[in-house]
Homo-oligomer: 452 residues x 2
């Protein structure tokens, strides 16, 4: 048996064995992991400094970007403290398992319960930021899944020690030792992607190419967190002040986030009213504008000329399919709401799109017609986030349409099973039903949890 197969098999066994351990023990494990991290803080941050030194050499040699290096840094601002607080926050969230979502009496003394349960073994692959190993391990443990984690090689020293602390915390609980395992190499990932018998879900967190590469190389389901090509549409009924506020926040609050806006669509009727005010505010905020001919000429013909007008330039077709992740915005004018909906459906990544409109009718049509995980009215696309939605934390933001869509909280890491119990004196068989026999009752049972 290969090493990858041993890892996968022991993860499956750990998952199966954990199903008979009370869920309170998962909370217990999280508290011990919190303590182990605290206890080993100095050692972990020292390893992180080594990772940073190695990364600085790569940056100096032009082989690594400065932004990647920054993401490695674990001892910056409140990053360490919030990572630790996150473990306790997840521990305190409501248990997502054991919840009954459907319950029927099929016959006298025959009760059916659909009850939430963990998915099984998760393979989680992420890049750069080492604190993700702790966040994701906490979510997996809380939801009752076992996990195999693979971080980026740049943060190897840090994640090894974080994993050691996780293992130390787990060993203080009655959960199996192999409940959370860490792997180091891409070769191991490749081998694991073939083991659909043991691994139930792959969660890649990183670039679009990482997600697609994994989707192309496994038949295990993939919950992808890929790119965010979000847009704001300024409807003919748009209020100018809301348009300025929403567009500016959507673009400039945190340009490298996936829920930042990359495209603004202007209704043609606004070219010489709302658009110049919005455009001027964007230029003042140093946003580079890639405009189609009508929106560009509306800006260049303004008098007095807006500041930073040199930041406005003609767009190309590629502008509207590019995730800029920077202070750059693609702009175009369209003649109608239906045209805007069609454009967004064809060009967006189905992440989050917003309409600025006073018309309720337009808002309603936009929210239904735009096929994205989030459809917003007069609100910044930046609201698309698990914490802001009230989930406490998030696994990521899914642009898929199966299982979980949009910001994914703990609910995205569970599925359900059906428990059926016969309580009569004879046991239940289907041959008693049908032509000439019994009929199914299908009456509702009120139950928050399974009574056996």
């Amino acid at each position: 048996m290969s090493s990858a197969e041993e890892i996968a098999k022991s993860a499956k066994v750990a998952f199966e064995d954990s199903q008979l351990i009370p869920s309170a023990e998962r909370v217990n494990a999280l508290r011990h992991i919190h303590k182990a991290l605290e206890f080993n803080k100095a050692e972990i941050l020292s390893a992180n400094r080594e990772d940073l030194q190695a990364a600085q050499i790569e940056v100096d040699a032009g082989r690594m970007s400065d932004s990647l290096l920054k993401r490695l840094h674990l001892d910056k601002g409140d990053k360490w403290d919030s990572m630790l607080q996150g473990v306790l926050d997840v521990a305190d969230l409501p248990d997502p398992t054991g919840i009954v979502s459907y319950a029927k009496e099929l016959d006298d003394g025959l009760e059916l319960y659909r009850v939430s349960c963990p998915i099984g073994v998760l393979l989680i692959i992420f890049e750069a930021r080492p604190e993700v190993v702790v966040n994701i391990a906490a979510l997996a443990i809380k939801s009752g899944n076992s996990a195999i984690l693979k971080g980026g090689k740049e943060s190897n020293r840090t994640t090894q020690l974080l994993s050691k602390a996780i293992a130390a915390g787990l060993s203080q609980s009655s959960l199996p030792e192999t409940y959370v395992q860490t792997i180091q190499t891409r070769a191991e990932v490749s081998s694991l992607l073939a083991l659909d018998h043991y691994i139930d879900l792959v969660i890649p967190r990183g670039s679009n190419s990482l997600v697609q590469n994994i989707q192309n190389n496994t038949r295990i389901p993939v919950m992808g967190h890929a790119d965010g090509l979000c847009s704001v549409y300024l409807d003919e009924s748009a209020n100018v002040d809301k348009a300025v506020r929403v567009v500016l926040d959507s673009k400039t609050d945190y340009p490298s986030a996936c829920n930042s806006t990359e495209t603004v669509i202007v209704h043609e009727s606004l070219l010489h009213s709302v658009w110049p005010v919005v455009g001027r505010a964007l230029l003042e905020a140093n946003v580079r504008l890639l405009c189609d001919a009508p929106t560009l000429s509306a800006l260049t013909s303004l008098s007095p000329a807006p500041p930073n007008l040199s930041l406005a330039a003609p767009s190309t077709p590629a502008s509207y399919t590019t995730e800029h992740l920077a202070l750059t915005l693609s702009v175009l004018a369209l003649p109608s709401l239906p045209a805007a909906i069609r454009f967004i459906n064809a060009h967006s990544s189905h992440h989050t799109d917003c309409i600025v409109a006073e018309s309720q009718l337009a808002a309603s049509a936009f929210c239904r017609g735009v096929d994205s995980a989030g459809t917003f009215v007069n609100a910044s696309t930046r609201f698309a986030d698990g914490f802001r939605y009230g989930f406490g934390t998030e696994v990521g933001i899914s642009t898929g349409r199966i299982h979980a869509r949009g910001p994914v909280g703990l609910e995205g890491l569970v599925i359900y099973k059906y428990m059926l119990r016969s309580t009569d004196g004879r046991g239940h068989v289907v041959s008693d039903f049908g032509a000439g026999g019994k009929r199914y009752k299908h009456t509702d049972i009120v139950a928050a949890s399974v009574p056996f």
Copy 2:
């Protein structure tokens, strides 16, 4: 653009356009499809007779099984009538879309709604039975998805006319003409499996090899309905009469169904009490028994000898991983409930497994410890079925653990989106929140549907 790409693109456009058509129109389309089927009954059944004649030649030549030929037959018993009734039944089911499952006020005048919606474009591939084209088209239309259907080549003439009737019915509604399309060739399927930009979910209904082949050849999510390796465990606390009734029904009610039982596990303490009674009943019912040494010797040492004792034979390791789909049952003895749970988790297809037990503790441990879509107590595995569960109808039975598990009803064909609305006078932006700013409220909103 290839023909497959045109089909996929027009399915996507049809789906997107349909999002602004009221859901009542989907019900209207189903009623027209019902009429069109009725109107064209003679022509359709005549085409079905041609398919049957062609199939008979294949059967006579030994190139097709008799059971496959039987599945082609549309004018047998109440098959035609129940197919038609099914269309009306699906039309009358509650609308699975537009249902709010999470609603929060994030701030004064900022409302978030998570609302169920269709997945998008479904590619559905099935074998043999022509009525499936009508069942599945009805489910797709009712849930608001557009669909591309591919039937087995054996039923080509029949499914072509069924598809024509579906198109005729659709044309009487305001839904797009390309809402449901049918394709004929495997080459088209191969091309479509590459078009993840347009197709959102593949649903193969058929053999395990069909499902695996598709999973290996696409990065589109697959909702697989593969094999059913179900088992019944006779606990040491089992009641003998329940054991006989449940095992017999699970094995003999419909042996070729995926929810039939293939393996019986006997607690060692029952080898000379409950097992001989169950074994005798199975042999009387002409069930071939593939037994391990202890369960076989318990039968052969009986006096008087049971009837049909020659049907009992030694098992091999392969017996316990085989879906017999016939009056054949694999049997083994194990020393404990934990051993039985481990055996089932390692050998079953995670479909449906049953414990026969009087002990509540044993039943509870079994239901939690066995990692299958259905875990049953004193009830036949044959109950694992969408109609019996009360879903009205089913898309199939999923042995996956993502999105939908077990019998899949209309709920399995929907996902959700998040609609966020700002109703204050300024529009909402995230930069107003956080350090020194506003705090998120996250108060519950009571709403069954989205109020805009």
